[in-house]
Subunit: 491 residues, 2 copies
């Protein structure tokens, strides 16, 4: 049961049982960032969504080759075929070589991903590093008759392709609809049809990023890199392609068209798309200028935030929604996510200290099954989290002596939380991460709270007060709750 | 004075005054790692050497574009033109796609560099990402008549080049000598002369890493990538090229020949080479199998090490020698480095707490001048460190009241240590780095020891024992001394 995953395939618009082409191998390609600015919440979502997919497949012992690209060339403003290259523009504004921009923001992106506990992909290819392969695919598409050259640029012939294949099968758009929605931009006159898109663009004299090709000194179209790098590292037909929903059209639709035109075979078996993060109902994005960068979340320096949020809180916040639902950002929602996550991680610590009994009054195997069932049901992280919270109640009841658990069941429960909380959902103990001394602090606090309890029982108020004041002086606050004394640091 | 740097130019075999081509810009290219294994001490040395160069130029307000490549293709076993590609071999042994190997070891290399506080370069280009540019340079060399094709491979014609230019001007080897020392390997028969080297190699059928070219499906020769990426990102002639001394011949010699043959102009103005790290007088290297990986140093897990050494200790150890001297590794030398570094960093803390006086009895400006003079004299880090240790004596004398310092001088001294210790030498406060919770631990221990004292005074042995046992369980040991109770962690 645990090995059967169903996932929603954008291509067929239904949940399907996942069957890998070459079990136990799984090929996964995800569209990565265009590196010309700091990563924001909108970047965190696909990264975390497919990190969960990567982690869960690995947990189930699949051998996953996960490819996530870096777009460092060819992505023009307006996401269309005209305008300036996003990276070259930034380089021009900052008087740097474009590759310095790429390096700078790639490094920062990697740092953010590490903070979010997003595992590095198996291969992270750069678009600019695969020009020769892109030229190669253009040649194949030209040979197959689905592209034409005009003045040193090469365009994909969408109209002709659509007659033989179905341009629009992923997005569900008809070519007529696509035609209507395509803006007419300067220089588009070269195209036979407005719906056609560039495979290779001749560089204007001032364009910095350029390479020789059989057609002109120029650069590849934005859609091309993903078809090329997917085929190169995962094969002409591979298992799963993921990305944000906003990429379905025209990016992914065009990726399919390019690969099918070049190779004459199906490209990707399962297409997975995460939904957007919205602010007041509007997509969050750099081009919309309503984004909050990840660093701003981590430092709390944006005006929409009442405090700093740890990377793992951001991760938990995103995982509280199913990846195919929108997430509407608000400060209140983040505050709630932080509370929920703390409750979950505290329970993991409680679990580590539980004492076993002769018999179990709780059903850990049922809980375990529910967690796997939810995760295998299209990676339903919010349902998994809900089950884990049911388990938190169970853990606290055992701690309070209201329920009992055997040694064997306790082992199952501990493994379950370790697997799901840390390995699959990719959360981590925050404070432990921040400093190697937390175990020492925890140990010392345990000792101190124990002495405080003793003092209170002995009605030794002097000692109890001394402890309280001593802790306060180093910014530690103790509260008595039904579950016993808990402590936290105060700012 | 501070802006005048002299550096030893391997090309002229003397120290020269450094004059940048386009002040205030400095172009710096350094040969980076071939990513097929974990980084060892031999990798740390060039990385740290040129990190110092990068940092010092920036400190002097030069605008440095620092390019350090990742070799991910074309580096064959034996560093020659035959044999298997080092990365492809590792991929074959581990049944992975070569680029998975590249990604894995690149990530690990980056982590090690961050631990060593080595700044990321401005651009870190991959050899495999510049195939098209390499093909382009081969075409230029062929056109210039300094290369020839044989059976789909292209070789550089060293003998012809040497007649027009001087092959050997960097290494000081005559072509006759080079000819004598070149091993005859299988398949070398294609070459007109044994001293010729491959620009492009036709791939054998089983060779995985291959690209189309006008000559064959194949791959570029190892020397080519650096000429190409240096020219691409720094210009056909640029300021400084660095690397390990072992790369002078044939790698750097061939880089010069390729660039000069292709562009018809001088390639690099200043060549800088760091010396080797030896173990028992032998070079430390992966191919010699006598290396200790950086992770082994950081964990102390290698049999040659008596303990773990922090990354900053390794950095300090390397900087204690001038980059053009050999460093002979020994455990004792590392122990001494650790002690020295601690003394230096403790003095920085002492310096922060010094109180100014009405007059100065110390000459901080003389010290400052000496530090800059040493650093500007071919980046003489050991002399800088010696001067900084003289300053440590000064600082401790001021602290002890034996010397005095004015507010203005104190400011100069603090800036000097901040600039040299942290910004230029790139050391950092380790303990603070390692854990942010030390203050909390100290505070908690103070409270606990106070309660222990109280309990003892009250002859409450139960509580005193409880404290002792509780601390012991988290590996903290308390001893009573004449000055009161002291504590330390036990392993």
């Amino acid at each position: 049961m645990e090995n059967s995953i169903s996932l929603y395939n954008t291509l067929t618009r239904k949940k399907e049982n996942f069957e890998p082409l070459n079990p136990p191998h799984v090929g996964l390609y995800v569209c990565g960032p265009t590196v010309y600015g700091d990563a924001h919440l909108g970047h965190a979502r696909p990264a975390i969504t497919f990190d969960i997919v990567f982690r869960y497949f690995q947990h189930l012992d699949y051998k996953v080759r996960y490819v996530r690209n870096i777009t460092d060339v060819g992505h023009l403003e307006n996401d269309a075929d005209e305008g300036e290259d996003k990276i070259a523009k930034k380089a021009r504004l900052e008087q740097l070589e474009p590759m310095e921009i790429v390096q700078y923001y790639t490094n920062r992106y990697h740092k953010n991903m590490e903070q979010l506990n997003v595992l590095p992909p198996s291969i992270e290819p750069h678009a600019s590093g695969h020009i020769i392969e892109q030229i190669d695919m253009i040649k194949k598409i030209l040979t197959a008759g689905y592209a034409y050259e005009k003045n040193g640029s090469v365009y994909f012939d969408v109209v002709k392709y659509d007659k033989d294949h179905n341009y629009g099968k992923l997005s569900g758009r008809s070519i007529e609809e696509a035609l209507e929605n395509t803006r007419t931009l300067a220089g588009q006159a070269e195209k036979n049809n407005q719906v056609d898109f560039a495979l290779w663009k001749k560089a204007s004299p001032e364009h910095i990023m350029r390479w020789p090709s059989p057609w002109s000194d120029g650069f590849p179209g934005w859609h091309l890199e993903c078809s090329v790098m997917g085929c190169k590292y995962l094969g002409e037909t591979f298992d799963i392609h993921g990305g944000g929903m906003d990429l379905i059209f025209p990016h992914h639709e065009s990726e399919i068209a390019q690969a099918v035109a070049a190779n004459g075979k199906d490209h990707v078996r399962y297409w997975m798309h995460n939904n957007m993060i919205t602010i007041d109902g509007q997509k969050m994005g750099k081009s919309l200028n309503n984004f909050i960068t990840l660093d701003e979340f981590f430092s709390g320096s944006h005006q929409a935030l009442s405090q700093a949020y740890s990377p793992i809180t951001i991760r938990f916040f995103i995982l509280q929604a199913h990846y195919r639902s929108t997430v509407d950002f608000s400060n209140d929602a983040l505050v709630a996510a932080e509370k929920g996550m703390t409750r979950m991680l505290t329970a993991v610590e409680t679990l580590a200290a539980l004492e076993p009994s002769e018999k179990s009054t709780v059903d850990v195997n049922a809980l375990r099954k529910k967690c796997y069932k939810a995760m295998s049901d299209d990676f339903n992280s919010p349902v998994v989290i809900a089950h884990l919270f049911d388990g938190v109640k169970m853990i606290n009841s055992i701690k309070d002596g209201k329920e009992q658990i055997t040694t064997a069941d306790l082992e199952v429960l501990r493994k379950l939380y370790n697997d799901f909380v840390f390995d699959i959902l990719g959360l981590r103990m925050e404070t432990k991460e921040a400093s190697g001394n937390d175990e020492v602090v925890d140990g010392l606090m345990e000792l101190i709270l124990d002495m405080r309890k003793q003092a209170k029982e002995n009605k030794d108020w002097g000692t109890a007060d001394k402890i309280r004041d001593g802790l306060k002086s180093i910014k530690i606050e103790v509260k008595d709750t039904r579950e016993g004394a808990v402590w936290n640091t105060i700012d």
